[in-house]
Amino acid sequence: MHSLAFDIAHFLAGSMVVVSFLLLYQDRLYSLLNVFALHSLVLALAVGWQASTQNAHHLYVTAAIALIFKAIVIPTVLHRIVRSLGIHRTLDVVGGVGRDMLAGAALVALAILVMLPVTAGADALAREDLAFALAVILLGLLLMVTRQNAISLVIGFMSLENGLILAATGARGMPLVVEISVAFSVLIALIVIGVFLFRIRERFDSVDMQAMDTFREERRK
């Protein structure tokens, strides 16, 4: 029998996978941002729970970063960017939501098939956390490759990064997790600033990745 502590950790990590799926079928920017905030909130809870069960107080810092920075500050800033840039559009999804959901389900199966056998030696919590984390990472990657809009790309990357933090905190007693999550937050902050800068300086007509892709060497020849 597993203890309650295990069940809660399991539930929270599993919820992150579910929220990753929610991210996949959002077709409006604002709701995408809100779901991402939920994703980070669940991460904060999962990390906080790990901190208390592992008795690792430094992990509370990571949880606080996830809560304040990623669940509150980043979505608010992105909301503002979307509003000020006037990209009130619905998101176009390449190939349709149905295909994405199927691909997502396949990726989750892949994550479990890959992670569970190789971690046979590790303790149950770490194994399943890792499998969930890999699923979140792969779903984040899927979001990144199937969306063309820069904001969705950033959201995809940040959900991927949430998966990484989940993996790192699930690894019992891993040192430097706090430092790593701080380093990641700096990176994310810069990405967000980057999106903003690109537009603010009016160098791009849109933050659409396809528009940027057309600007290739071929055109300069």
Binding site: V114, P117, V118, T119, A120, G121, A122, A126, L130, A133, L134, I137, L141, M144, L153, F157, L160, E161, L164, A167, A168, A171, R172, G173, M174, P175, L176, E179, I180, A183, F184, V186, L187, L190, I191, G194, L197, F198, R201, R203, F204, M212, F215, E217, R220, K221
Partner: protein, 483 residues
């Protein structure tokens, strides 16, 4: 002695870090450029004293036989590049491509980049290694976008997304290494310390280690510009300031490769783990052949040499993938030679694009007539990088090919094919740029110093003719370590 070593090891981090802060505060670009050169020189001196007094490893930092030469190489190239940068930047300011405010930022970031690369090389902790490489990526992203043109921003954005993705994969790999080590080594800091990991690697869970290596190879491989994860590299090289192209090609790619090699050593130390060689051979060969086929279409001079960097990273990865004392020796030598030659070429290219006012190969004509020193410097550099004697790159490429022939003749054929394709294209492109008929426009004289380029070319030439005995002994020693 050890306390001296500890001081110099710390100095390698403190000098660039404090110089970066100071440069942030200082206005006046002349002073900034001088301070930049001075700080790089100090770091170089500190790096050289590491040979005399080697510090003991602690939980975070470590100097061993492997990284010591990369540290010296790193600080040497950052010093010569800072010299080049001083003259390059002055010209950019005159033509108004950059403003003094941006220059302040540029110099501070330059030192911060040296700090990050030194930290990555010195790190004895795989988490710290990751943080350092992440920092280096962020700084180079900012530098690539420095010109704020549409193309530069696009290049920076592309680099940012791909680089972050690589970094994310590498972090997952790092976590997996920790998890593989944890049952054997217990929780906490030792299970992430590189020297401890190596000592206990035989007891790790092989399946987890295998999975970790795949993530690490893809993650850090992205940073090293290996095909198919190379898409950021040509853009970043072409659109950023040329000193940064030199540092990116000459140093940062090496640092990423160094991280891969560290983990390869872990894999080799575990008898039950997957052999890392075939994976590396595949990525290396893919990079080499891809570049061999794509090189001829490049119309931009910096892009041309950026592609050539992908090719050489491929060769090095291939050599280490083949493994064994001879191929490892060749790989180490090639890392050094490529670093020196490629930065020399970028120095030349920087001056050339400034005097010609363009980066397009088709409009650069007859350099040996209009600018003999630059033109012949470029000729020497391209001949060296294409792998012709008497330069050092020839020695290392020859060693790679011959050691592969002895072990895997079929692979050696593919390798030779890739080398020949790249060789032919580079010489064909060089032909027009160096010896074609000048376009007859007004000739802008080059007023900047070509000393850094000459120093590098001289070193590569000397290495091609005569490698000092101690260096050979040392290369052999490290080659044996790499397994």
């Amino acid at each position: 002695m050890n306390s001296v070593g500890l001081v110099t090891m710390t100095a390698l981090l403190v000098i660039p870090a404090s110089a970066a802060l100071l440069l942030m505060l200082l206005t006046g670009y002349r002073l900034g450029a001088r301070l930049n050169v001075g700080a790089a020189l100090l770091s170089l001196l500190a790096a050289c004293t590491l040979f005399e007094a080697r510090p003991d490893a602690n939980a975070y930092l470590r100097v061993d036989d492997f990284n010591i030469y990369l540290i010296v190489l790193n600080n040497w190239v950052s010093f010569t590049t800072s010299l080049f940068s001083a003259s390059y930047i002055a010209h950019e300011l005159e033509t108004g491509r950059l403003t003094p405010a941006y220059l302040r930022f540029y110099h501070a970031m330059y030192q911060a980049l040296i700090f990050a690369m030194n930290l990555a090389l010195l790190a004895n902790n795989i988490g710290l290694l990751w943080v350092a490489i992440e920092l280096a990526t962020l700084i180079t992203v900012l530098m690539v976008g420095l010109y704020r043109t549409r193309a530069a921003l696009e290049a920076a954005w592309k680099y940012f997304i791909l680089g972050s993705l690589g970094i994310a994969l590498a972090l997952f790999g790092t976590t997996l290494v920790y998890l593989a080590a944890q049952p054997a080594m217990g929780q906490g800091l030792p299970a992430m310390a590189w020297d401890q990991l190596l000592a206990h690697a035989a007891a790790f869970d092989p399946a987890l280690l295998n999975l970790a290596f795949v993530f690490l190879l893809l993650g850090y491989g992205t940073k090293a510009g290996l095909v198919p994860l190379h898409a950021w590299l040509p853009d970043a090289h072409a659109e950023g300031p040329t000193p940064i192209s030199a540092v990116l090609s000459g140093l940062l790619l090496n640092v990423a490769l160094y991280a891969v090699l560290r983990f390869k050593m872990l894999m080799s130390a575990n008898p039950k783990a997957l052999a890392p060689g075939p994976l590396m051979i595949m990525l290396g060969l893919l990079s080499l052949l891809f570049v061999g086929l794509m090189l001829y279409r490049r119309g931009d001079i910096k892009r041309l040499f950026a592609y050539s960097s992908i090719e050489h990273m491929g060769i090095i990865t291939f050599a280490f993938g083949i493994g064994g004392p001879l191929a490892n020796f060749a790989g180490l030598l090639h890392m050094t030679m490529h670093s020196l030659t490629k930065s020399a070429i970028f120095f030349a290219v920087g001056h050339i694009s400034q005097v010609k006012g363009t980066q397009r190969i088709s409009t650069i004509r007859g350099l040996t007539v209009t600018h003999p020193a630059l033109g012949w410097g470029l000729v020497a550099g391209v001949i060296a990088i294409a792998g012709m004697p008497p330069f050092g790159v020839f020695t290392s490429e020859f060693l790679v090919v011959s050691s592969t022939f002895a072990r895997q003749p079929l692979l050696a054929l593919l390798l030779a094919l890739g080398l020949l394709l790249a060789f032919g294209t580079l010489l064909w492109r060089l032909q027009g740029m160096a010896f074609g008929k000048p376009d007859g426009g007004p000739i802008v004289p080059n007023q900047t110093s070509i000393l850094p380029m000459l120093m590098h070319l001289a070193l590569v030439l000397v290495a091609g003719i005569w490698l000092p005995g101690p260096l050979v002994v040392w290369f052999h020693h490290v080659a044996a370590l790499l397994g």
